[in-house]
Structure formats: C-alpha cells, structure tokens
Assembly symmetry: C2
Homo-oligomer: 646 residues x 2
Amino acid sequence: MKTNYWIWYPGDFELYHAMKQNFSRIERGYGWPAFWKSEGFRNRVVFWREYDLAEETFFRVFSSAVGYVLAGDRKYPFGQTIACGPGKVKISVHAGCIETFPSIYVKGDVVCSDSTWMVEDYANAPVKAGISCRYTDEKQNPAVWEYSEKIYLPVSAEVCEGGLLLEFETELTAVLEIHDSRKGRQLRVYCGESRQEALDREHCYYSWTPDEKTGRCPRCAVRYAFIAEDTGAPAAEAGSGAEAAGSLADEIEVKAIHQYTDIPVRASFVSSDELLNRIWSVAEHTFRLCSGIFFIDGIKRDKWIWGGDAYQSLFVNQYLMADADINRRTLLALRGNDPMTTHINTILDYSLYWILSIKAHYEAYGDLAFVEQVFPKMVSLMAFCEEQLEEHGFITGRPGDWVFIDWADLDKEGPLCAEQMLFAQCYKTMAVLGGQLGRDLRLCEGYRRKGEILEKRIHAFYWNEEKGAYIDSFVSGKNHVTRHANIFAVLFDIADEGQKRQIVEHVLHNDEIPPITTPYFKFYEMDALCRMGYLEEVLERIKEYWGGMLARGAVTFWEEYDPAVSQEEQYDMYGDRFGKSLCHAWSASPIYLLARYFVGLRITDPVRREYELHPHLEFFDSLECVLPVGDREIRISWDGEELRTV
Amino acid sequence: MKTNYWIWYPGDFELYHAMKQNFSRIERGYGWPAFWKSEGFRNRVVFWREYDLAEETFFRVFSSAVGYVLAGDRKYPFGQTIACGPGKVKISVHAGCIETFPSIYVKGDVVCSDSTWMVEDYANAPVKAGISCRYTDEKQNPAVWEYSEKIYLPVSAEVCEGGLLLEFETELTAVLEIHDSRKGRQLRVYCGESRQEALDREHCYYSWTPDEKTGRCPRCAVRYAFIAEDTGAPAAEAGSGAEAAGSLADEIEVKAIHQYTDIPVRASFVSSDELLNRIWSVAEHTFRLCSGIFFIDGIKRDKWIWGGDAYQSLFVNQYLMADADINRRTLLALRGNDPMTTHINTILDYSLYWILSIKAHYEAYGDLAFVEQVFPKMVSLMAFCEEQLEEHGFITGRPGDWVFIDWADLDKEGPLCAEQMLFAQCYKTMAVLGGQLGRDLRLCEGYRRKGEILEKRIHAFYWNEEKGAYIDSFVSGKNHVTRHANIFAVLFDIADEGQKRQIVEHVLHNDEIPPITTPYFKFYEMDALCRMGYLEEVLERIKEYWGGMLARGAVTFWEEYDPAVSQEEQYDMYGDRFGKSLCHAWSASPIYLLARYFVGLRITDPVRREYELHPHLEFFDSLECVLPVGDREIRISWDGEELRTV
C-alpha cells in the first residue's frame, strides 16, 4: 500500500521547527531567542492535484487548519468522506492557519497526499509540496516533533551541600522526573554538564522547580542533577545548612527521560588503537546528541542552528549516519524565505557556507531533487552577496553584518581574504550544481567566469610572494598572515601545488603564525593537513587534543579545550564560569578525519554511489570498520595481514 | 499619570488580527479562509529606548513571548522588578514568539512602554513601536481582541416546523447561549439574517450544536434563530414531524450575547423627512455592525477586509464616528508587508484604492504621523504597479490579477480606462502627500509629472468625442461606454467642465447606458451626481432604493437590492439561495451623501480642523444634525426659519 504523507508548503515545516529550536535557549531563568531574523511560515496555502480516475474512489482530508476541500466544483469540510470519479478531477485543499504552518493529510487508496501534490501561497508560482518521512499517519501533528525516549536512572547519588547530587552514566538531553514521597515540600533541581555546574546553584545554566502534578522539569542538557529543598533563599546563600538533605536520598526517586531524534548510526570503527576507538565512540555520542531535528551547535546554551557549525556537521553525518533528511531540514531552516534581507545567522561567511553545504550534501547523497528545490534560493543568495562587492569585486560586510571566519586575531580592514576564498568556492559550486541540473548554460558559465576572475584577483591582491602565504587584508598594509585563508586556499584548490607547499612550510608548519585555537577551525586545518598528506601529524594531534579531553573525564567532546588551563577553570568560556558547552557538534570531527583519510573512503560519484577506498593501514595493527555509502554499508576488515572489503 | 501601552512591531497587531478576521468565514460547516496572500507578523523583535535618568527608578516588563530585558549590560527575566539609574541607560527588550506577534508592556513611573520606543526585526532599519489605545493594561493580551457585550433576549418566539423560531429586535453579531432544562437532549441551532434562512436547515449559512458545558454557539450574524432537537437526520429531511417541538418553548432559554467593537457614534441626523431619518438610522446600525476590529464587507458570509469596500467605509466613518483608529487598523491590515508580491485582495483596483484611502484618511483627520508611517509602503506599492505598465504606460493586470472595477459588463480587452483613472489619481495623491510630509521635491515632482502624462494619455486614448464619453477600451475597437470610468472622470477631476457636462448628458442621464447595479458603484455614481449638483435626483434615488429595502422589512441595508426581484428570491445572490449579505457596509453610503452634500459639511484643512458648511435647507422643513470634525462636534439646527450652527 502507498504511503500517505502529511504535506505542507516546502520549507514551512523546517522554518516552524527552527523557530522553536532557536527560541528554546534558556539561561538562568530567562529566555534568549536567537538574535537574527527569524523567518515565518506561510499562513494561507492551497494544495492541489489532478487525477484521472478509472473508477469512483473515496478519500478524507485531515487538517487542524481552517479550510475546505474543493473536489471538482463542490466544497466539503475536512474530515468528511468524499466520493469522486470516474474521470478527470482536480482536488484542491484550501487551508489557513495562524499559530503554525498549514498542513494536510489526504487519506485514500487513490486520492492521497504525497510529494506529487502541488502547493501555492498566493505570492509565488506553484511548487511541490513538502513532506517528511516521519509524518505518515493521520493521527500525527506535524507541528509537534516526536522524540524517541529512553529512561536513564542515576548511576550514583551523593548527599552534599544540603542536597542530593545525582550522576547519570553520560550526558543526556532529558526531562527529569522527580517523585517525592514527602508531600508539601518544594524542591529545586539544578542541572549541570559537570559536577561543579550542578553544585553551583547560582551559576548553573538550568535550574527548575518540578511541575506540581507530573514532577517533571523541562527538557535540558544534564549529566549531573543536584536536588535540594527550595527554601526561598537566594541561590548564592542557599546550601550547606539544610539538615534535611540526608533524608532526600530515601524520599525521592529520580529518572531522566532522555528525548532524542532517532537517527541510526550506520558506521563503526574498531581499531587496534584503544584511544582512537574511545575518541570515535565519544565523538559519536557527542554528534548524536547534537543531531536532533536539526544540527545544532551544542545541547547546552545556544542550541541554535548555525550555518558554519552545520556545514561541518554535514561531513561527520556523511560518514556516521549518512542521513540526508537532517541535512535537508537544517539547510531549509537556515536559508529561510526569499527575499534575503540579512545574512544567515547575521554572518557573511555563514551565508557562503550555505552554498557550500548544498555541494557537500550533493556530493554525499547525489540528491539532485533537493538541489533542484533550493537552486532558486542559491541564485538569490548569490545575488544578495553580489550587492555588497567593493570596487575590486571583493565581498565585504554591510553595516550590521558579522564578518566572522573564526575567533582569532584577523586583520579585518577592508575585504577579508578568507571570505573571498569562500565566495570563489561558491561561484564554482553554482557553476557545477547548475550544470548538474542542466540549467541554462549562460548562467553556469557566468558563475564559472566570475569565480575565475575572483580567484585571479585573490592571487593578485592577497598572495604575498615574500611571505609565501596569503595575507588577511591588502588594505591595511600590515601584510598580516593567519592560518585561515591559507587553509581555505589548500581545501578549495585556490593555491597551486607550489603555493600549497609554501603554505605548509610558511604557515601550517610555522610556529610563528598564531595557532588555531578553536576546534571549529581546527577541523579545516586538519582537513588541509590531511589533504597535504600529513596524516601522522594529524593522528598525533587527534590523540593529543581529543585524548586530552578524555583524560579530564569528558563523556562528550567540548566546545573548546586548552590543556594549559587548570581544571578549576576548564569550564569557563565567554567570561562565564560554566559558559563552555561540553557537548559540541564541531568537536566530533575525528569521525570525519578518521573515516575520510585513515580508513580512506571518498565518494567519487554520488549519483551512481561510486567511491574509492584508500585505507592507510600503516597506522593500525588491525581495523574493523563499517562506513555508509548511499544505501549500502562498506565493510573494511584488516587483521594486520589481509584487507577485506565488502 | 502617564499611560503605558502594550507595544509591538508596527503593523503586526493588525496583520495578526486581520488573519483571524479573514480566516473566520464559516459556510455550512466548512471554513473558508480568504483566497489571497495572508501576511505574517514578525516572530523575533527587539524593542529599545534610551533614558537619561535623574534618579534610580524601577520597572517591570510583561510579555508572553520568550525573551529577556537588557538594562545596561545586565540581563533580566520578564516579570522581575528591575532597578536602574541614575544616568544614561539603554533598555532593550528581546522577544520571540511563534504563535502570535511578540508584544511587551513595560510598567514603571519613568521607564514605561509607549510609542516613543523603537523596535527592530533584524531585517529593516529601526521603526517606532506600534500601539493601540485599547491595550494599556498589563493584564491584557494584545492577541485577544476585547469585544464589548450586550445581552439581547428574543422579542418573539414561534413554534413551527418541528422547532422554535426566535426573533431578535434587530440583526446582531452574537454568541447565542441556550439553557435547556431537559437534560440529555442534543439541540441544533440554525441562524438566519432572515426568517426564511433560519428555517432552511439545509441552506442557512450558520448552524451550530451548542457547547455541552456552556450552551454557547460560535459568534455569528443572527436576527432569527431556529432551534430544534438534533435527531441526526440529514438537514433536508429533518423537520415538521417532531412533536416535541411545542415543549421547547417552555424548556429552553435563549439569549444573544451581542459582541461588538464599541466605536461611539458622534453624528446624528433628524430632519423633517421621516423616511430619511429612518434611512440614516438603519444605515448607522448597518455601518456599526460592519465596523469591528476592521471595516469588513458584511457580517455574514465573507466578513473579509476588502480594499474597495474599506475605501468607501472611510467616507461614512468620517461623518458618523470619525474614528481614525479603525482606519489605521484597516489600512495596515490591507497593505501587508514589503515586498509587495500580489495586489491587495488580488485586485488591481483595490491596490490603487489603498493609495486613495491614505488620502481620504489624511483629508478627514490630518493624520500626518500615519501618512509618514506608511509612506514607504505607498512608494513601494506604486513601484509594484509600475512594473506592470504596457507600451503606452497604461497599467494592466498580470496573469492571476483580478481587474475588477465592478460587477458589470465592462470591455476589459487591453488596459481598462477606469483603472487608468484610479492610477492617475494615485500619482496625484503621491505628489500631494509626499509634499505634505516634506519629502524630496524630485520624488513628488516625479509623481506629479507621471500623473499629468497619464491623464494626457487617458484623454488621447479613451475620450471619445463623438460619444461625449470615455470608453472602456481602445484595444477592442468596440468603443464601449459604461458609467464607471465616466464617474471617476468626474470624481477625480480628470474631465474638464465641458467634458463633465457631456458625461452627465451622454452617460449619467442616458438610459441607454446600462445602469449601475451594485450599491458599491452606486456610491460613486451618487457622489458624482452630487458633485455635479443633481441633489434632488440623488435624494429621490436614496429614498427610492434604501426606502425600498425598508419597505421590505430591512433592519440593516443589504448588499444589493433590486425592486424587480420577487420577495421569494430577494435573498438570492451569487447563485446561492441565501448568498446575499443583508448587512453590508457599502450600503451605508446615505450617511456620507446626506452629511457631505445635504448638510453640506466639507473639511477644508484637516490639520487645522477647518471646514466649510453649505447646508441645502431647501430639502428640509427642519433639520437637527451633529457632525464630527476632529475632536469637535458641529451642530446644525434649522427650524425652517433660522439656521444655527455651533
């Protein structure tokens, strides 16, 4: 039997849930909705499909919207069984909704809703309806995301500081449910990614009063939970004095209902190197926690959908879960509606990564249908960027735009080199993907030519022969060299082979050039080093950096790690004692690096599912891996003597 | 004490409530949301104001949105008392909301919310916050419109056709509340604007099952209510057989809770002509029913906000209630957001009326602040229209646009004359209002010049000297003359005095030209006749047409009335037995005509509240009138001998 789907205006589902996601940040008692343009879904749409019916058939339309069904020239309310046919008939479903996006479900043997339906919003040409393979039953509500749940009980409990400290086996995104056998008392729950955070009633991010009826707290990141009687005293003064704490352990029962989006892991990595195995495993847990409805940065603090972070998540996803759906949801959510009026997340580079994300998505899954769907928005994003070129044709920020690249001391006077490299790569992407779609040759050729011209200008204005490196800015006269643009020059093949060698020598292997300090950009740096063949160096750095976090007891990988910082201050970031997110998507990059360069799997033709495999067995005594390609799982088995791949 | 207001992004309040209004149409069991682009409110905004505080002061922020208060560099949750000052401080309130528009209320002696706050939506430059004088208390919720209520009990009850037929003293927009002393029985309520409609269980627009707990039915238009036991039989078959009907009269109690927007009537009209007095009075009731949150077309069926209908309501409002607020709400709701992608209500002429509406609003109230607020949207609307000019510079419809003007046999081949006249009047309006705002001289001069060129071309292409009239189309070669363009030529002074006289002779007083059949366009025709001095004729037609409806028992004026149609078919329209709306705003035009031309009040300078008064006393033996001008009420008293005005 055919699957019927809930359908909506394409993108509406993602825009709605993205707003929920981006408005879900809570910090010490106040809400902190993301500080960028938040896009609305449509409120009034009409869905339609034409049928040529061989015989009479019946169907029903389900929707919580206001509206009606027009079958031929008769109108019907939702919920009513409608007969139509035989013959040609156009079925239209008119729907209006204010609080959420209008969606409908048409149930019938022949007349039923799926992505073959068209939808209009009274402002644009008809487009194909949006669907999700997660919404196929009439009893569902696409405005409510359905999490999978798993119950975790505490693995340890400790009476201390006037309350009870509970630890779970790992970090979770959970609803805590507390049953207190002593009635009439008000409890307060303090959650922490670390023991220290949970015990710091004043500075911990999340603290809750359990719901009176259900005993439940809001869903949040939690590894440790500290529970104490709420005496009404200010958090800073509450604490050690409460004598009743000891009895809490006997009187309350706590469980964590971990709520997650079940995206199956399709890869595995078991090598002779135990540390690498643990790094893979913790990276996997980290990444799964950060892969919900969308790729988010981390599960504490922002929980926002960031274009730069998402771009990196695409690469890890490809090798771990190979789930094209979460890519599509994230990319639709990030881009928003036309016309574009501000950059994605307000960040110039994040708009550019969005174009590159479509390329990465295509190269992983050969998903031309999605490229076709978003190509008009790629074109309008490029046009929006082209509105802000300076006299030499370099892209610059407008007032209010955030020219980011990285938390680093970049010379941002005038147009920034790294942005030009991203932009040049965007032009190439437009030409290539436009070509794949069979778009107008002139359009593709135009992008290709603009990309070439931009690359030539980059060479002319930013390549410094004396330094053997690209400089940040040609305006300031400082000839300041950082790693960032030089890493892009390697990754995007903007530098020729000779220049790449110079970059390695003068920049990547030059201790005088300030090191990359964020795992975010370390991702690109390692990628570039791998491309240049420095696998041994990269492996060493993976073990040192990620191994270092494990040595400090990490059960998920952190937003940032500096071995030089004392344990007392290791959770500090952005000037906030517990500001550092301890489960951050971008720190899952070892999965990508190990799979792509060490196991050596690269998809060469995503449409035909063709790939190449060049495992670097010299680093392992044994290796047992599974990696996904399309619908297949590739198995690599090396016992030190024989390599088998299936 | 200063008034504190709820504040929001300007227009959001109106767009939200307009969607509710336009999605509220219910027809025989199904919802019928308006078939045009429905504009979303913003979901993420930041409000801010800078203060220079003489001393420490306290304030609290109320909001149902997600967000926080930033006072100086500290963040606070909503609801908390915040101290700040002395000194300079910037207060920002960040707010995100998905289901409705974000709004906030800042309560404090010094720091408090009003229209001096600015608001940003992360896509456009900061603008002044929107307010409503109806939302000034922190306990209110701007997403909920607060209706005034008045209880009406039935004035008659009649047992018939197996149920109980109740009549109210006039037509209402009411929630019916039914108390049934016999428990366990299901009742069904059939509402009607006419007795016939209420008794027609199959074809009446509104039928309800009272809510089990409250006994209430949804708010709807009702003059007659027929109540019967719901036996589950199809409506067409239910009926006369039920013996229990007789006891219903003893067992149920019914009241109508009339819900209305209380906009005080400031005018009165009492003349020696009883018929005219009754016409005024019924027009007043009609108009008040159709003036709710917005000007709507009628209280049954659409209940939609239409640009053409609203334009006419502005003129009646000016002379009856002189409420500038409902104008502003309606005009903001109609225009929606930029960029403009489709015409208002999908109708080309309705976009043009929107420009003319701003002029009418200004000329009634001198409300330059509102003109200032919407001027950018006037400019972008004109630019949107200018995208669709044909080779001669005439405006045409795009595919999907509705070139309406009137339900009449117009020759719509090629650009339509009446549309050009509206467009020319828009150019003049832009020049005049731009000038009032002190806008860029080149901009205003540009509009003036374009208007002149367009008028010249109208003369060249559409004036037919032989016919002494404007023709609909110069493309078809039919030289088809209708009244419409010729009426506009008079109203907008496009025709010169000689041409106007020809138009009267060859068109307005020419029985061979098909008569205007809709009260909608009759409004313009009567206006034109009055301008040309044919007051006696207009008075005769008012008495005949509106008096005719009264003679048929109307308690509100109908969407349309044709004396030639039999009483049996008089409620039929659009091929629907009860399709005609019996309480329709555009039929309240006698108020405008009587006040403007017979009492003779015209505002000459809306900013200074200057007016002229030329009462045509020859039509009355006595006259006692009050008409509003600005905040004043002008009293006109004529006892047949002496005229007194105050």
